[in-house]
Symmetry: D2
Subunit: 320 residues, 4 copies
């Protein structure tokens, strides 16, 4: 093992740069060389690959986005293209690849592993929807950004006696909605993992009003429906002064939280140490507060991310 390649892929998540730094520095510290691959799998196939220097990693730990860029590249689903990628890796003398990204990115790593090229996946996505880990890089930052936005919206809701329906990101998963909803003291949280009853939510808001609380906050995961449609449904069940908001892309970027930086640092270093032990074909994660590495093929083919829906019940007990 002499050279490790690093790429980021899929939607950017805050903390990806901390992971890039950790992988490269941990590799250099062990006497290996680190090669950066720009623009994800696209750059891999095109040979957009360069030797990283330690000084390039100085000052990036707190930067949002990814210094290695990302790019859409559906062509990587084709075997022929995958083999071209391996050709490039061989050409640059790269012995193993660490991929930071979400679900789609993992599938690329899975394909390379199946072709015999040693690849490791590091979970980086704001959605927290990767199997094999309790938390992904970028999730904590996204939750904090969403929570801060909900705090602001609460100020207006309170001042104007309004009900806000706020759609947060998460693709098919309700994790961002659940965590930010609890953190903001939402009256209701709506996630794809459980059916919702719009009439029950409306009744709760009406009952709150009777009890003197004349404003409301509903946090909606994008995987369920749109804020605009949910508001329409809600308005059928009460005379609310309601507004629909989509938080959108502000949840992706920005300065990563301390937790995301530490998690990314631990993930990246762990990936390198596993490679140094001769291991590979793995998905990195944190489970029950411990670093774990599971077979990337088994993890992706046989497991699913499990959202902790008990948080929904918790919120029901706390918010009224």
């Amino acid at each position: 093992m002499k050279r490790i390649g690093i790429l980021t892929s899929g939607g950017d998540a805050s903390g990806m740069n901390a992971a890039v730094r950790a992988i490269a520095r941990s590799a250099m510290n062990a006497g290996l060389e680190a090669y950066g691959i720009n623009y994800g799998y696209k750059g891999l196939v095109e040979g957009n690959i360069f030797k990283m220097e330690s000084s390039q990693l100085d000052g990036i730990i707190n930067r949002g986005g990814t210094i290695l860029y990302s790019a859409r590249f559906p062509e990587f689903a084709e075997e022929e293209v995958q083999l071209k990628g391996i050709e490039q890796l061989n050409k640059f003398g790269i012995d193993a690849l660490v991929v930071i990204g979400g679900d789609g990115s993992y599938h690329g790593a899975l394909k390379l592993t199946k072709h015999g090229f040693n690849s490791i996946g590091v979970p980086g996505t704001i959605d927290n929807d990767i199997p094999g880990t309790d938390f992904t890089i970028g999730f904590d930052t996204a939750v904090n950004v969403a929570t801060e936005a909900l705090d602001r919206i609460n100020d207006t809701a309170t001042s104007h006696q309004r009900v806000f329906v706020v759609e947060v990101m998460g693709r098919g998963a309700g994790d961002i909605a659940l965590w930010s909803g609890i953190a903001a003291g939402a009256d209701a949280i709506v996630v794809p993992e459980r059916d919702y009853d719009v009439k029950a939510i409306a009744d709760k808001l009406l009952k709150n009003r009777e009890n003197g609380k004349d404003h409301g906050l509903i946090v909606l995961a994008e995987g369920v429906t749109s804020a605009a449609k949910f508001k329409e449904e809600l308005d059928k069940h009460g005379d609310f002064d309601s507004r629909a908001i989509t938080l959108g892309h502000i949840q992706r970027g920005g300065v990563p939280t301390a937790k995301d930086r530490v998690l990314a640092s631990r993930f990246g270093d762990y990936a390198v140490r596993l490679l140094l032990e001769g291991k590979g074909g793995l998905a990195i994660g944190i489970r029950d507060n411990k670093l774990v590495a599971t077979d990337i093929i088994d993890t992706l083919e046989n497991h699913k991310h499990m959202t902790d829906v008990s948080l929904l019940d918790l919120n029901e007990r706390l918010s009224f």
Copy 2:
């Protein structure tokens, strides 16, 4: 002069609470009593009025929204309703009213003044669109919130080589767009105060791409058109990987900046000192960095807010 009434009206703006505190404390400090009026003109007409204690003002200077609440109340356009409001003020022995709010709120104060009730307007709106003042309470906070959001979006734009069209608030005025656009280093800023040329903007982005800058940021004032429509126009002039975003209500609330708190404190105190000098029927403002008070009737009927469009030219010189 014994009792001063205070109300907030129109859209909430961060710093309104700092103004409420300043008016009430400055009044108390001069031996007057301060009366809070809940829910704006609605609460005024309904007599939702209470004597404020100093302790209620402790800890509110850094709170978003308004502790006096706000409410829509189009009925206040009718003379009969206005007179009912004056009746309530008389009933509570209130000698003068300070109204914190935007354009619409000022018109209420104007009407009361015309009916002979001493009223003073303190400019509180994120839009910065009030005549008679260079800056309004809440504008600086809104600009900073928008700028932080644009910073985040820039991270994603850079990572993914995308062009983002971001719509910010401001009603008919381009001030938030101009300030946040310059602060975020936007490639183009589009405001209602000047015609825009979508082809020229597209050409600039294409030229940037030739020069190696493959991402872009366009800040659009809501008074021009929607982000979605602008994106559609833009896409006709280039093969951009573009996205449309509406920042929305997050710009309204949240912890006010130091500048908004100081401005609100100065405005509120100044209003009380003018009342103590026997003056009234005034619009408070800051002009050329000095506190000013102008006749509220003349200000509203004969003047308009002037957005500093020279900032557009500045941005053209700095962003490429």
Copy 3:
């Protein structure tokens, strides 16, 4: 079980209010009454106790400090005083007490439990130094505040080629130093859990300088020595343009992070559910990402908080 008492004690930690809210709301949701006790054990003994209403809990989830106040009260070490406290609890008909606080606060709960009064401890301290839990309420916020401060200091260190020695809080534990140090990419982290070698640190900084990195950041836990003394030692081993900084109280307060709010919500609700199951005399915690409750007497008398010193080795591999 009809009435639950709640008190906060010891140094304030962000998220305490979220825990107060969770305990009170979860109790109310189960048909119980919640009683707030002001000023910690002092207020308990003095009978400064009041019935909480749900509306008092609205809008506190994102507020720093504690709405129940805290107070020093060394007198509570005396048995006689403890029994007076129990007298007050009986007088108000309170069946069980939930105490939010750090080490000292837990010992009060332990004493009450030994006297037969059902008490539950919820870990709330920025120091993360409570046995029986991996994380305490307030730790994540303190780490983020410290990290943001270190980011700022890094800007100046880089601009001026300086070495900063920054002392962070943590009492006898190095957790805040470790987490914020890794998050800020510190060149060295010094904690009480491991001996340090100031010459080795100086040599690393000198070697960095040779490699072109002419600035440095050392994060020092307050439990080791003062920043001023450490700087003095450091300066003996190199010609650094060094500065000593003590971050101080800014680490205690402020808006809690989403993680602290969610953790506090889970802890508080869990305490109530255990009481409803007839349990008591417990210390609440999160271990391996799962809520746990351990015997409060055994936990405090036989266990110690274990700082994860492997993070020190991680930082060595990543920072150069």
Copy 4:
């Protein structure tokens, strides 16, 4: 005019990078070349000078510190050394120099101007203590950082019934103390521009306590005395549970506020436009909300920064 040199000098201030960008971009936009000079006057004399490219300026507008670095260089007080600096400027074909910095930096520019080299000063310092301008780059950011810290400290003061004496930066000027003190609702603000009466402050705190407000906040400018000494004096006049805090270097760095970015952009662009008009030997500023340029020799030799001490009286009226 073909080439403009840019250097930053003195203590770093947030927004300096925005000014560097504005000067360089505005110059490039006018067909000039921009040359960066690293490490202030030291780099000038040593010829650490490089041609700037537009791409280097991308993404720096929101970065704290200065990408051109700063350095102490007392040797520049000597005429011989100044002439060496001019030699270097001539060697690189630089026609005019724009210096961003505080008082000391301005004196360097003054000297170069007296030797006949066209130099312009752009005010960049957190202290706001430059003659010829109402506001300097970095002041608004420092005030906001200090205010946020004071907000946090207020949480702890309230929770623990404590009095905090918080020392903020500002060198000889009280501007940061005044603005952050008003913004945080301080009970007293102590600045070098006006004598203070520690007994009167203590009496106010004691009276507040009688009125039910049992905590306090005193904001102290570093130009007066140290927090520790002030606390000692204060404690002689009352039984306060008081704490002394020095905020320190966190006030210097960090992401600049929108206001500082816009101000820096305007200043930098204005400096270039003046040079293009054939002007020079000037100090840039903003006065009464308008960009101004005054003779740098006259400004420095005959004028002083005037702190607005009327803000002290304002605070007295509002805080009790």
